[in-house]
Structures are given as C-alpha cells and as structure tokens.
Symmetry: C2
Subunit: 354 residues, 2 copies
C-alpha cells in the first residue's frame, strides 16, 4: 500500500523522521506492506516544496543542514497549508500530514490549523506537537471521526514511549481516574542539580550551555510545557475539555533550590509534578513542585528520565517510564502513529494471528 | 458478535473473570459489539459442565465457593479437554478457551495440552498461565498462525499490566535487545522484609500467614516462577526458543538476609532480578539476587510492586511498572486478550477513527 506524506515542519525531528523512514524502508515494505513517499516539505526559513512523484527528503535535509534553501525549480510551494492542499489533491490511497512545526505553546498554533486543514481535506494527521491535543482535542477528534481519518499525536508526551497508544491499544475497558507524572526533562535536570547543591541560575546556565534548556527557558521553568502535556493527557484520557491556560501552574525558580535541598536533607525529593484528578466539579489539573518521599517512583527520576503514573479502576496504579530522550525517539513516535494508520486500513495478513 | 467461552480452570482467577464479564456485560455489548456466553467450565475438584445455551457461571461460582460440585443433570462433561472439544463443535462465530488451570511450572502442563487442543480444533486460546509461552511458544504460535486463530497470554507476567500487548500493539518496528525486571511478588515482599532486618524464615512465615506466599514456597523462593516468566518473555520478545529449565537460576534463602542488610547499609538494595540479554551465542536468561544502586528503578520496588525494563534499539530503555497486584488484574488480563480477539475479527466501526 502506498502512503504519501507531507512534512510540515522540517526541523531536527522532521529531518530525523525522514531519515528513519529511509533507514527502515525495506522493513516497512516487507512487514507492513507500506511504501512511503514524501511528496511535500514545508520549512520555517528554507522554503516549501512539493512534487507528486516524491522528493529526495534525505537529500533536502542535508541541503538544509548546509544552510541552503531546499527549493528547486518546479517544486516550489507557498507554505505548509499549500503543501497540505496539494497532498490532499493527490491520488495515493493513504495521505498523511506529518506535523512538527515550532509550537506557540500558549495558543497551540500553527499546529492546530495544519491538523484541521489536513483532516478537513481527507488526509490523516500525525503530529509531535502538544498543541492540537492540548487546545483542540474535542474538535479535532470529532472532525477525524466525521471524515473517517486518524488524528494521532504519540510524540506529544514522553517522545516515542507509548502513552496515548498504551491506553488506546492495550487498556480497553479500563477507566483512567487520574494521573501524575514527571514530563518535562529540563526542569527535572535542574531539580537534580539543585538537590546536589547547585544554585538555580548556575544550573540553568549549565543546561543552556549543554543544549538541554532553551535560550528562553521560561516555557520549561514556568511550567508551560508540562501544562500543555497535562492538558493533552487529561483531554484524551479523561475527556477534560481543558486547555493549558486552565491548568493550575507553578514553575521552579531560585527559591526552589532551598526547597530541593531541604527535602533531600529529610530523605525526600522535589519534583515538578504534572497531575490530574477527578473531582465532583470535574477534572482538576495542575503542575507544581511537590515534595515526594524517596520511595515514590517519581522521586527516583533524575535528569532526562520521565514517568507517568496512571490511576485506573481495574488495574490500580501502573506506570510507564522513559529512561532517556533522543531525537530518534520523537521521530519514532511519528513512525508508530503512521503504522497505526496503516493497521487501521486493514491488518497485514501475517499480523492477524499470533 | 457472539463469542462462546469455555473456562478450563475455575479457581480464584477463573471465577473473578466470570464475574468481570458479568459486571461489564453492557459495556462489552455497547462498546465492542461483543456478547459473551460461558458455555463450558472445568474445575479441578468440583466437576466439569457444558451447556450449548450457556451456563450461569456466576451462580456456579457461588455454588463452588460454598463447597458444592457444580454439575447438574444434563450438563456433565468429562474434563477440560472434553469441554474444549464441545466448545469447538459449537456454531458461535468466535470460540475462545479461557485457560487458568493450576500449572506444573516445571513442565508447563496441563495448560499446554489445553491450548494446543483448542487451537487444533479451531478455537482461540487465552491463558493466564506462563507454561504455554515459557515451554512451547514457537509450536503454539505457529499452530495459531496456521489455523488463523489467536494464542494470547497477557496475564502470564505482571497480571493485567500490559507487557506482551505493550510490545505487540504499541512498539511496532522496535527491536527488544534485552530486558531486566522484578516479576515475582513473593520474593520481593521477603526481600523488603529482609532489608528491614527480619530473618528469612520469619519473613516467609509471615508471608504465608498473610496468604502472599504459598504453603510450598519453593516455586517462588527458588526462582522457578520468575524463570518461567523470563522464558516466556524471552521467547516472545527475542525468539529465544528457551524453556525455564535453561534459565540460569538462583533463588533467595536465609543467606540472602545478610546480603540484603549489608546492601542496605551501603545505600543499595538486593532484588531478585529476572533478565535476558543478546549475546553472540544467543539469548542468555537468568534469575538471581542482584545488588542494585538505590537510584535503580528496580531498587525502588517494594512488596507487591513489579517492573520490567525493556532495552530497545530505537527507544533506549523504557519501563513499565505495576504498583500492586490483585485477582481483578489477572482477570482483566484475560478480558483484554478477549478484546484483542474481538478487534482482530473486524474493528467496531467507531474505534476506527480517533
């Protein structure tokens, strides 16, 4: 089965995805009967391209990494929305938007517009962005159902470690009554440093130098990234109909250093905990530094380690943990969503019985 | 869609499953278009029954719990294999063996014979037993593929927490290169007690009094239960073609108490670690007490908590943790396998697009 893909967003994650598709091409064909062609690419600063017959995406990635625009004569496209429109006009049996643009975390854009445009025009939509599920899950999932298309976003939380897929594919009939987790690596790195006695500013500067924290770290340290993840998780698992703006949010700062060291002296740990719980007034979501006993699973997470503890009706608490993060993991999330779409078309025969 | 079920084994897990099916009857019908009928039940000491029109399984569970045989005039069956034969002769579109007999952990029987008989006669086979996957995974999965039927065993490791389903359903294209875990609750309970200073015999007696350890605890403390789980995991994830007899196995005993306390004094922990790794000579599996640094995820597990850390090519290490165990969890594992079979028939329309 042929699938045409349009990559809207072609940063580190999008380029790693293009290479992963290439690395696993034989495997995708043999085990999944899936022949992927990347027909469109839209970048932020290096132009947008489209070609019905398929592009050399890995070649274009190399070109872009050398600082060149990716446009050649005959392939020019206007922008992401134009690339999506031309993808939709094609005749492939499966057409998929792969959305990895830079997110305005306080508005969820432009990812929401891209996903909406794809679904409205009959394409499937896969995104690594939190925005669509955090701000517009009800609208976009209803639109997907109406058009009989998939809207998937495994990469939005904990990279490629299955979270949304875990609940959807392996926990049928289980109700998620709440959850709590450590889902932001930058703040977790800083908290690990603080409890070792480093000052907040020094720790942050070191993380920035190492490329772990952004030049503008406020989205991480003020809890916005975690709030968007909580919102997405609560919308999907608990039908919370919330947005990141409604999450009770407290970040970390210089004052947290004292808390973290005092906690450690008591045999406890401070972690930036993202949580949701069911109350008589609906789902309450929050992000805040919480002191946890050393025996708590979340207390044991250091550095890049993330974890989510799901509270369920039938299985009690279960947790899934990511020990490290990488670009490949986020790219894998996109690939796993693509394979979900493939399986929904019709399961390849040999995977039916095992 | 109608599914006829035969429950071979009707102990605590089988009876909890019968009740769970009843509790969730409306939900199974509405959300999964699945109408389950329990047509056969085989017990160890209370007889075996079969009725084409369906049995009152919950009523029979109550009857059995009161100490009565479950056989009534007109429903007598000879034994488990007879119940499976009569299930296979029925005309339901989906016929499923639910196998929960008491296992001979050193031979995998009688579960293997039951699963084989079911698959050979055109039924699907679901079991909570480790035996079939630990001793005969290659044979039984090939048989299932040949007959276009499912052979599923989510409950064999970590009860209802998805392990086999996690890998099969949510990690396509990911290669499992090894794993390590704490998968036996009795020994973990004892180790928690030992590091708190209790003696081995005293801890074991206390666990037996609390119903956590068996009257004959050797299968747990000698590592057989964990070895069967390692074997099943290695066979499924790494095509190891091994058996529990080939697992390097060292249990815990009075001498472990000193190790556990000494480790704790050093800020470390002893856990009974079940592991598999890829070597040039094939997959090597082992179960043994291992001293772990306090920061290790497995070191933090106490009492009933279990966890499995998967080593993967694309996602690094990921872990899934069960915080507590219960009968309901094991019964849920059987239900989740039943729902996998249902989904493989044809996805219910409303789950296709979301």
């Amino acid at each position: 089965m042929r699938a045409d893909l349009a990559l809207v967003g072609f940063g580190n994650v999008g380029r790693r995805f293009a290479r992963l598709i290439e690395e696993r091409r034989d495997w995708l064909s043999l085990d999944y009967d899936l022949e992927c062609r990347i027909v469109g690419i839209a970048t932020r600063h290096h132009g947008a391209v489209f070609r019905d017959a398929g592009l050399d995406a890995v070649g274009l990635a190399v070109q872009m990494e050398a600082g060149h625009p990716i446009v050649e004569s005959g392939t020019e496209a206007a922008d992401g929305l134009d690339v999506i429109r031309r993808l939709a006009d094609g005749d492939a049996p499966v057409k998929v938007l792969i959305e990895t643009t830079t997110l305005d975390i306080k508005a969820g854009q432009p990812a929401i517009d891209h996903v909406r445009a794809a679904l409205q025009s009959g394409c499937h939509a896969v995104t690594a962005n939190k925005g669509p599920a955090a701000f517009a899950f009800e609208e976009l999932s209803a639109l997907a159902a109406d058009r009989d298309r998939s809207f998937l976003f495994e990469g939005a939380v904990m990279d490629g470690v299955p979270i949304f897929n875990l609940v959807r594919e392996t926990l049928p009939a289980v109700q998620i009554t709440g959850f709590r987790g450590v889902v932001n690596s930058t703040t977790n790195h800083i908290l690990s440093a603080l409890e070792d006695g480093e000052g907040f500013d020094a720790a942050l500067e070191r993380m920035q130098a190492a490329g772990i924290a952004e030049a503008d770290p406020s989205l991480d340290v003020d809890g916005w990234d975690a709030a968007a993840k909580v919102s997405a998780l609560a919308n999907v698992f608990m039908r919370a109909r919330t947005t990141p703006l409604a999450v009770e949010r407290e970040g970390i700062g210089p004052a947290t250093a004292r808390l973290a060291m005092a906690a450690k002296a008591r045999g406890a740990r401070v972690r930036l905990v993202a949580s949701a719980r069911t109350t008589p007034d609906g789902v309450v979501t929050s992000v805040r530094p919480v002191e946890l006993p050393e025996t708590d699973l979340l207390a044991g997470l250091r550095g890049m380690a993330n974890a989510l503890v799901l509270e369920t009706d039938l299985l009690g608490e279960i947790a899934i943990c990511q020990m490290s993060g990488s670009l490949t993991q986020t790219a894998y999330a996109l690939l796993s969503d693509l394979l979900t779409i493939r399986r929904r078309q019709a399961p390849p025969p040999h995977t039916v019985s095992r």
